[in-house]
Amino acid sequence: MNPLYLEVLVVLLGIVLLIAEAFDGASAKRGIVYAGIAGLIGILAASFFIDPAAMNAAAPYARFYSADALAIFLKQFALLATIVVLVMSLEYAPTVEANMPSERRGAGLGEFYVLPIFACAGLMWMASAVDFVMIFVSLELVTIAFYILVSYLRRSEASLESGTKYLVLGALSTGFLVYGITWIYGVTGQFNLAAIAEKLPTLDQAAAPALLFGFGLILIALGFKIAAAPFQFWVPDVYQGAPTPVTAFLSVASKAAGFIVLLRVVQTFLVVPALQEKILPLLAVIAGATMIFGNLAALPQSNLKRLLAYSSIGHAGYLLLGVVSIGAPFAGTAIVFYLAAYLLMTLLAFLVMTIVAQASGGDDLADFNGLNQRAPHLAFAMLIAMLSLAGIPLTAGFLGKLFIFECAVEQQHWILVILGVITVAAGFYYYLKVIRAMYWQQPANPDAPEIKVGPLAKITIALLCALIIWVGVYPGPLLALLP
């Protein structure tokens, strides 16, 4: 099958569901989300039968669309994340309905289920984008879907506030991105990354400042997307205010897409040693600052959503450490592996959080007190997610960190490695805080109602737990999928 069809199918699925939803009347719209999940699973299955050779390399679209192994892996990654996010949205539906101005049954739910599918299409295009224009367009497709989703809870001030913040900062970073692209186009006359990489060594020294300026602007824009310090300040507020499934989607998919673009852009510019000397130290400083800020700011948090927001900044720091160590032969695989592990554990944490927050009415750590007594299985799933995020061996998170640190040691980034070890130890503290709440503390309200978990959510939780441990113990098959 031609890889181009994947995104077409996803967009078609979204449009069909949107039309079907319009005729669905006042229902809970469960059919829409089930159809969405089924459709995405089908496309995910189809993605394993992709034949990159079916693409005509001479066709015009091949200049901005590539279907290498990395791109295909990331498409599957986006599809999986979207499926889990839809499962989460199903659990989250009561909160959405409660925050709609209309009293009609299922008001606003349809779009809430369908918009992630459009964002997914954007993410999949971004995975294939090897051209600045394509990168820009697909990035905007994702971001615009997120503008709507973040501020979706129309009666919740927090959601509206975070929507506004995200919109303002998103627009700002878009501005930086476009401006950066124009500078680079001005110097090289090319949008295509491969063409730029060819052109760069032929340029004379005088062009270097302009190139670096353009690269710096792009770095700032991507810094916003991946939440790297010092462009991380929007993250905690937006993550906390947005609907939980959207937060999960933002922190996983949007970040992964940002990293892929960063990786492709950095690799393009590294071909010139003179640029490399300037770019790598800059990235190293950003990586160090991100690790320190994310992990230290997470320490005092008492709201789980906010805690996970800061922790996601911390993880961006480790990923950047991988980008800095890009010289190591294994670094690319290490970064993608880390992203995959991060996807599994973050989605698991958010899924459990969505369910518990629905039942206890809040997502403060205190709402998780005594979860082990109220719902031992959910507590155990959260335990696995936290252990993996903290980096305990035999989980996917540990291997991710191990591979990244191995590359960093190999490249002898000693200062960053020391910072990394200190921040990982700090990470233990705040992840264990969640475990403490679940296992040490007594529930605030001992006769709170039992927590109900839908069948789809149950299966997803079990699958994610199993995957985290399986990847942590037996990473061979996953690594075989990686480029």
Binding site: P393, L394, L402, R436, Y439, W440, G476
Partner: protein
């Protein structure tokens, strides 16, 4: 299925049953007992003539990195596996009625046990490290949920301290892996040892120091020892038994397994540093132990102090020193487990462990008094116990190390370290007098009951093994010595 894999799986499966709601005590006792019998059987079927690693099973998981789930045991691992299963069995046996979620409690104990067994039975560096880390979280939960005193603060401190130590160790191990020449890259400990013997693998002093201090933090090497006494004092008795008796031995085992074959030159190069630090363990911590006013803290510090002797055997780097050190892992593990078990019983009976409020227990609880006496004598190294055998071998080994002219670091330090024996005698005997003899303490009630059947037999088992191996240390040394036979 490899017999070593069953050794790891039995506690894990038992833990799963406990969490699923089976009668936890009965099933844990059954699982731990089965594991003990299995390890005894393996010890008996290990062929001393053939030597080396036996019961080997390999499953390559990730060939590009050389990660493979490989199990195997040589004489040293066999002895430590016996220690782990023995102490686990005793710890489960002495566990009193648990009120707060007993299923979780037993499951945590068994998880620690499985982690330690896995680490001792792994011959792959990755799983060697991973299994040890696996035991960190149950420790956190055990102290945090069932501990005493400032349990929450202490649980944090221990976990962060150990996690930090583990990450330093991890960096060392990554450095070690990167030092292997390309093409030979492996995580198989056997191959790494061969490369070390052949002199092909020379990672250099930085990696050695990372590994030394990484393990050092886990072992409570001075000045990184402050986590240990508090943790053991706060942990419930069975958890303290398992952690001090078994899990802490992981660090020493790691030094024997990795540092000795691969870093012989670095060990000698930094011997002075380690000698000074170990004197800190023996003398400084020894004096701190003397000053303790509570039994649990005193036992915690005494356990830290004894680690100094183990390090003395380590830097001696000869057959005697290392053989004595490995025997000491076994002997000290059993002794400290017996002491913590009895300490838990005293605290359950009187509600306090302050020396000032205890006294005259011997008249009321003669069996407790007698067994504590045995355990205390074992701890201070009375001849007849395995502790004595191990300490004397270490001292001979370290003294023999320095038969060269001039000022001799080794002989001076050994002479100083010998004073540690006197210090332990002072604090142990004083503690014994304070608790069991003299006037009735304020916390001691007239109707104090003597030891129950369970605890009594569990401790008798531990002490019997200590006496047996004390009179016939050859029983274990036959397994241990061949491991270091290549050394002078």
């Amino acid at each position: 299925m490899s017999p070593l894999l069953s050794l790891i799986l039995i506690p894990l499966v038992t833990a799963a049953f406990c969490m699923a709601g089976a009668v936890p005590r009965r099933i844990s006792l059954f699982g731990a007992g089965a594991n003990l019998l299995l390890s005894l059987y393996l010890l008996a079927s290990y062929s001393l003539e053939i030597g080396g690693f036996q019961f080997v099973s390999e499953n390559a998981l990730f060939p590009a990195y050389g990660i493979s789930f490989s199990l195997g045991a040589d004489g040293l691992s066999m002895v430590l596996l016996l220690l782990a299963t023995l102490v686990t069995f005793a710890a489960v046996w002495v566990t009193p009625q648990v009120e707060k979620s007993p299923g979780m409690f037993y499951a945590c104990l068994l998880f620690i046990s499985a982690g330690a067994i896995g680490a001792f039975a792994s011959i792959d560096l990755f799983f060697f490290y991973a299994f040890h880390e696996l035991a960190l979280i149950p420790t956190f939960l055990l102290i945090g949920i069932w501990g005493s005193g400032e349990r929450q603060r202490i649980a944090w401190k221990v976990t962060i301290y150990l996690a930090f130590g583990s990450f330093i160790l991890l960096l060392g191990l990554i450095g070690l892996w990167l030092a292997v020449p390309e093409g030979l890259r492996t995580l198989d400990i056997r191959l790494l040892q061969q490369l070390g013997y052949a002199g092909i693998l020379a990672p250099g002093p930085v990696v050695y120091l990372l590994i030394l201090f990484g393990f050092g933090i886990l072992i409570a090497l001075f000045p990184f020892h402050t986590w240990a006494p508090e943790a053991y004092a706060s942990a419930p008795a069975p958890a303290a038994m398992l952690h001090a008796g078994v899990l802490k031995k992981f660090g020493l085992y790691g030094l024997l397994r990795i540092a000795v074959p691969i870093f012989p030159e670095e060990i000698q190069q930094f011997a002075h540093l380690v000698l000074i630090l170990l004197l800190g363990n023996i003398l400084y911590v020894g004096f701190v132990t003397l000053a303790q006013k509570r039994l649990d803290l005193m036992l915690g510090y005494s356990s830290v102090m004894h680690m100094g002797y183990a390090f003395l055997g380590f830097v001696a780097l000869n057959q005697l020193g290392l053989g004595g050190m490995s025997l000491m892992l076994f002997a000290h593990g059993l002794t400290i487990a017996a002491l913590f078990a009895l300490c838990g019983e005293i605290s359950r009976r009187t509600g306090t462990l302050e020396f000032s409020q205890l006294g005259g227990l011997a008249g009321l609880t003669p069996k407790l008094g007698l067994l504590f006496g045995f355990a205390a004598m074992a701890s201070l190294g009375l001849p007849g116990f395995a502790t004595f055998a191990s300490e004397i071998i270490i001292f001979f080994g370290a003294f023999a190390r320095g038969n060269v002219g001039g000022f001799n670091w080794f002989q001076t330090c050994t002479a100083l370290a010998l004073w540690g024996v006197v210090i332990s005698a002072v604090y142990m005997l004083r503690a014994y007098r304070n608790i069991f003899w003299g006037a009735r303490g304020s916390a001691v009630k007239d109707d104090t009951e003597d030891l129950g059947c369970d605890v009594r037999w569990a401790v008798i088992l531990l002490i019997a093994v200590l006496l047996l191996t004390g009179f016939r240390p050859g029983l274990l040394l036959d397994y241990l010595n061949p491991v270091f036979a290549y050394l002078p």
